[in-house]
Symmetry: C2
Subunit: 149 residues, 2 copies
Amino acid sequence: MNQEPLYLEDLHVGQRFSSAAHRIEEDRIKSFAAEFDPQPFHLDEAAAQASIFRGLEASGWHTAAVTMRLIATGGLPFAAGAVGLGGEIEWPRPTRPCDTLHVESEFVEIIPSRSKPNQAIVRVRNTTLNQNGEPVQVFTAKILAFKRP
Amino acid sequence: MNQEPLYLEDLHVGQRFSSAAHRIEEDRIKSFAAEFDPQPFHLDEAAAQASIFRGLEASGWHTAAVTMRLIATGGLPFAAGAVGLGGEIEWPRPTRPCDTLHVESEFVEIIPSRSKPNQAIVRVRNTTLNQNGEPVQVFTAKILAFKRP
């Protein structure tokens, strides 16, 4: 954090980063779900209690969006921004109202482009943790990185 | 669409579904990005034109969230809701302002639970297409499915 922007030359496998923290409010869980994931267990206490989640939980896509916010606002200081091509995502446990999340990131692989010598794909494992240190999301992303211009 | 809710007994590999359509407005692209992915190429025309995207594009997480909305509102009529465990996501091309998206889904694998005989994990390939039939996202999800109670 508060780090110089990183170019491809600055990256190595095993490098780690930690984001700021963000608290997820119950109202935003419900309004995000109303727009993007209108299922009872994201919208209504009683329905959520009766579901397999046994309580209100954020949409996984809300957790993913907050994770992106934390990465984009200092968690991963790529010089050209965090341009993601995709990756593997999993949600090992629910995000609950008033959880405070932060993201720990580690570079797991750097794959040079064969056709574009000034760029590479960096595989980054981004683990989103709640205030108890429990992972609520693991997103192993493919992100484009560029050499210094 | 307008289909009976599906239980595990009703599912087979190769089954296909198609969602309703949703138009993504430029204002929502910018406001979503301001909250969740505040990078210049999602927020500002001029910066986006100068970026590798050559024009404003939605955050991939905005595309993902709209895809979830389309799935949850009829695209995938699972009786117990679309409870996702995770999956593989990729964004082969940008979502642009005023794109109209819909989702085509196909069951690619049904994996019975060894410990819970009333449930299975269904692998579903959800392809989000723009108005030109071009894929903007492919999300191969693992979704929980349950037998009739």
